[in-house]
């Protein structure tokens, strides 16, 4: 049975990827950080299944700033594939904690590359890069040849990690891929990301648990896909015979306003009565014009997103409603 190791397995993408790989009869190992609250809500359904946890799914304590432990776990697990999804992934927060963002997202990736370079058995690496590496690009849509020009500490760290993956592929012949992921959401998105925040608020207001929704700039537009589609792209990238870099995106732009309208319509409320502009949620340097051209992923990997924006927001809002029932 092929073996995969996932960093960031407790996150949105990690949990979907874990399910996908298990469904393909791949044994999954995940790295988890020690915290005093054992919050692995996205994995609970797998963790509590005795047919899965301890048989086909294994979790190991490790941290991207602890190279000795990483090396020990990698040597013990000896995976065929590594999906590197861990990182301090919140753009707004990267202005609050820029050094640790750099430490985890940039240095953490490099440490992993260094360990992989020395492993006795060759392993395939997928690195989850981000459209934030492009910053505020002059050309839209972006593709794999668009220059990096990040505008926030998160984007700077991701650009570093992406370029380093390219260097290790070229210099040391590693099978290492970058997936340049545009925004991707789902019911498992972190609660402090704007889509989840809006869907949660619409449901909470509907249930009478919340009165209003403060938001930053709602005209900001993004290329938003569904995480379940995107983790399939990750797997396809590592199943191909050649390593490469791929854009994963829908190519469609939607505004925060579109999310608001779709979410509130799902619960049958008029958004105008509840949404309030709050400058505290404005980003310092706000990216715009980010839309991805995923033609290469389609041509080489046969990848295409299948879940539409509307379907996704409806699914997210209904999940919030169900959680608050």
């Amino acid at each position: 049975m092929p073996r995969a190791l996932i960093t960031g397995i407790t996150g949105q993408d990690g949990s979907y990827l874990c399910e996908l790989l298990l469904s393909r009869d791949i044994e999954v190992h995940g790295l988890v950080r020690r915290t005093s609250s054992l919050d692995r809500s996205r994995l609970n359904h797998l963790f509590s299944d005795p047919a899965i946890y301890g048989r086909r799914l294994f979790l190991h304590y490790a941290d991207l700033d602890d190279p000795t432990t990483l090396r020990r776990v990698l040597l013990k697990v000896a995976p065929d594939q590594i999906y590197h999804l861990a990182g301090q992934s919140h753009v707004g927060l990267s202005f609050e904690i820029p050094e640790s963002t750099c430490e985890m997202t940039a240095m953490g990736t490099l440490r992993l590359l260094e360990i992989i370079r020395d492993l006795p058995k060759p392993v395939r690496l997928f690195h989850a890069s981000s459209s934030e590496i492009f910053g505020q690009p002059a050309i839209c849509p972006q593709d794999e040849n668009t220059p990096c020009a990040p505008v926030n500490p998160y984007g700077c760290a991701k650009a570093f990690a992406t370029q380093m993956v390219g260097v290790y592929r070229k210099a040391f012949g590693l099978f290492a891929c970058n997936g340049i992921m545009f925004n991707h959401e789902s019911p498992r998105r972190g609660e402090n990301f704007v889509t989840r925040k809006i869907c949660h608020a619409a449901a909470a207001i509907k249930r009478g648990l919340q009165k209003e929704l403060p938001l930053g700039d709602t005209s900001a537009r993004r290329d938003w896909g569904h995480a379940r589609d995107y983790v399939r792209g990750m797997m396809l990238a590592l199943e191909h015979d050649q390593p490469g870099d791929y854009i994963f995106a829908t190519g469609q732009l939607h505004s925060v306003q579109d999310v608001v309208e779709r979410a509130f319509a799902t619960v049958g409320l008029d958004w105008r009565e509840y949404v309030r502009l709050d400058p505290r949620f404005m980003r310092v340097a706000e990216p715009s014009n980010l839309a991805g051209n995923a033609a290469r992923a389609k041509q080489i990997l046969g990848w295409e997103p299948v879940i539409s924006f509307d379907e996704m927001i409806i699914e997210m809002t209904r999940a919030e409603l169900a959680a608050l029932a």
């Binding site: 050094e99 700077c156 210099a171």
Partner: protein, 337 residues
């Protein structure tokens, strides 16, 4: 009261030239040095006076780009008007052997310094020593401030991160933070493991009959080589501008290692082909392409131009190493410079 400048990397080639320049302009100069069991301040000997002397305007402080608290404390205490970040693990080939350390200092070190500045609330002007290595697999020739980066070594990836985070702090927090994108710059103070200095030192030793062979890597590698003493003037000029900005500093000429060998050996009356052998261990795992910098913007906005061109640069480096060796052999000591 004199202006205060803080230099990281003050013990290096550029740091020592910059310290001299700033002292000559009346600055009080502070430098950060790392603790090591051997003294590494050789390049500063000429300008370092007893710190207890009232006239002393050069101060060295222990610190490290890996130590955020020390950086914060030093900046708060010194309150510099200008900060020049020249410190780095700056050797490209070594960055393939020691990539994590290179990144910790060359990339993460910069954000530690920027955060320390932001936290103290004083608003010094900030200079970041960026590098032509960021262009790597070049997207256009010659390279300008708008040429996209394509780094090809851990060093270059780290420098590219440092470049962007500097731009980001300028745009996000209104800092007067600028990048000088310096193409290769050499001098008699260049580190001995860099190819130019390795050649000129070997020429001196071969001429004196103390060495026969010189082992080198890729002789076809081409670079845009200028004179470090002139490049530090550009750093200072960049911080004197009203607006922060990014500038290419280069000669707009490119020459191969082979050409460097020809000029250096023939200047000493030697034929390089009799002495040079190839050692593939010195090849980089991934080489950069044709690096040649267009410095039009620096000329137009800073009034800066390189004066010492390739042939004169090679000759002055050979002359210096020949002189240093003969001083050393005559018992006047002080190797290196």
């Amino acid at each position: 009261m004199s202006k205060k400048a803080l230099i990281t990397g003050i013990t290096g080639q550029d740091g020592s030239y910059l310290a001299e320049l700033l002292l000559s302009k009346g600055y009080e100069v502070h430098g950060i040095i790392r603790r090591a069991s051997t003294f590494n301040t050789g390049r500063l000997d000429a300008i370092y006076a007893d710190p207890h002397s009232a006239k002393s305007r050069l101060f060295l402080h222990y610190g490290d780009l890996s130590d955020a608290s020390a950086l914060s404390r030093l900046i708060g205490r010194i309150q510099p008007e200008e900060v020049y970040n020249l410190a780095a693990q700056s050797h490209v080939r070594v960055s393939f052997d020691s990539p994590e350390y290179t990144t910790d200092i060359t990339a993460t070190g910069v954000i530690r310094l920027l955060e320390a500045i932001r936290e103290t609330g004083i608003r010094p002007r900030f200079y970041q020593a960026s590098s032509s290595e960021m262009y790597g697999k070049v997207r256009e020739v010659p390279q300008t401030e708008t040429t996209p980066f394509y780094p090809r070594s851990p060093y270059a990836c780290a420098k590219t991160y440092a470049y962007w985070i500097t731009v980001n702090y300028r745009e996000s927090y209104g800092m007067h933070a600028s990048n000088g994108i310096l193409f290769n710059h050499e001098s008699p103070r260049r580190g001995e493991t860099f190819v130019t200095r390795k050649i000129t030192r070997a020429v001196a030793l071969i001429k004196a009959g103390l060495q026969d062979k010189l082992f080198l890597g890729n002789l076809d590698a081409k670079r845009d080589w200028g004179f470090a003493r002139e490049y530090v003037e550009a750093m200072w000029l960049i911080l004197q501008q009203d607006q922060p900005d990014d500038y290419v500093i280069a000669t707009n000429e490119t020459h191969s290692v082979r050409e460097f060998l020809e000029v250096a050996f023939s200047h000493a009356g030697l034929d390089w082909q009799n002495h040079v052998a190839i050692d593939e261990r010195y090849y980089r795992p991934a080489e950069v392409d044709l690096l040649i910098g267009d410095y039009s913007k620096a000329r137009a906005k800073l009034g800066w131009e390189p004066k010492t061109k390739f042939i004169d640069l090679v000759k002055l480096m050979v002359d210096s190493d020949v002189q240093a060796l003969s001083d050393q052999l005559a018992g006047k000591v002080k190797p290196n410079h």
